[in-house]
Symmetry: C2
Subunit: 241 residues, 2 copies
């Protein structure tokens, strides 16, 4: 296991430790940079803490920063031509959001904290500079972009397709991917509705029935434990029967 150099451990910038921790997990965008380059950038990156409901950026804003999510969940949502909210993607630990800021474009969707969130705010100008001096960064950026495409298409294929029960089951799978200790975050029914294009009532009925079937069990109002084998079984029977 790599250890953090001493001079970095008690650095004047607490951000240095945050960046180093990310690097350890191999999830940092700046993982490819060498240590001296890393030391330069901490000052520009802010580790922000956001309570549930905070807006990282809003629709139409000309973005000045990108964010890497460190903990918690962020939803990316937009307003349809019809006028209702539609969640198009979820971002969790390690995900990069707001890339469009790099292109000086305005955001087409809003990023809202679904849970308390810690994120690293990376100014656009920093990345502009870095990408000149460190072209090896580009590959990481492209990878993040591709991951956004894949995540969005995955969402379309599994969470926006088929009967309501199937969509809820797949949402639970998706939420489980982001759960660290077996306990997953349960969105409110209205939020699940915005994610799956269902009404509050339908969502509630399905969640209740899954609870009765033992697929999920409540931990508290916002968290539940998931019985993955049962969920898989439910999905199989759903997809064939």
């Amino acid at each position: 296991m790599r250890t953090i150099p001493l001079y970095r451990q008690d650095s004047r910038h607490p951000q240095a430790q945050a960046c180093a921790a990310c690097r350890e997990r191999g999830m940092a965008l700046f993982g490819v940079l060498d240590e001296t380059a890393l030391d330069d950038i901490h000052v520009h990156i802010a580790d922000v803490e956001l309570p549930t409901g905070s807006v990282l950026f809003d629709i139409g804003e000309r973005g000045h920063a990108l964010y890497t999510v460190r903990t918690g969940m962020v939803r990316l949502e937009r307003v349809t031509a019809r006028g209702d909210r539609r969640v198009v993607r979820l971002a969790g630990r390690g995900d990069l959001i707001g890339q469009e800021a790099l292109l000086q474009r305005s955001h087409l969707d809003a990023a809202v904290a679904c849970t308390p969130v810690r994120a690293c705010r990376i100014p656009r100008t920093l990345l502009d500079d870095l990408s000149d001096r460190h072209p090896e960064l580009m590959r990481g950026l492209m990878t993040r972009w591709q991951e956004a495409v894949e995540s969005s298409e995955q969402w379309l294929a599994e969470l926006a397709t088929g009967p309501a029960r199937r969509r809820v089951l797949h949402l639970l799978l998706e939420l489980a991917r982001h759960a660290d200790d077996g306990v997953l975050w349960m969105p409110r029914r209205a939020e699940m509705g915005a994610m799956l294009d269902l009404t509050i009532e339908t969502t509630s009925r399905i969640v209740s029935s899954l609870r009765r079937e033992g697929v999920i069990s409540d931990v508290d109002a916002q968290h539940a434990r998931l019985d993955v084998p049962r969920l898989q079984a439910a999905l199989r029977e759903q997809d064939q029967g």
Copy 2:
């Protein structure tokens, strides 16, 4: 209006003319390159013609090339966990597809020609080389990637949301964006179904009724003319009433 230099007009590489034409329209990925650089790349790029139904790349393939669509429509589709086809995006003139090849990743969705297609096949290795020597290309690449994200999220928000009629109307709008002369390509009912997650019968019923209402009128089996104002009106009434 810019004219193509003589030496390029009767170049040994017919591709030179194709590339120049794209550049004229400002849609070329390589638009930022200067002319000598352009001359170098023609040899590597192939202008391919594909009949309806051709597969540009398939799910799971390790991609070796990217494609810019010059004419026609390409659908990007994948197979859901449930086992059915789901179209997640359409690509038309000027769109770049298959970027994941750059990252040496395998394709997560298949690209299939919906109509006769002309496309430029750009080998991965060419772009690898170019991005070293011409870092200004990166911005264009990132823009294309962002466009893929936006297109996929747009698809999710408008074509996968709400009642069937609304979804069909929005699909027609999307198809109209790619129509050059007021005549748009009408997919088969089964394809529209795969795009909107509807059955053939439901799709057929809605299309028929739109025809009766005068929103669309057939040109031939595969093409129709669209009355945009009526479509807009139909959408308004759909979304409010």
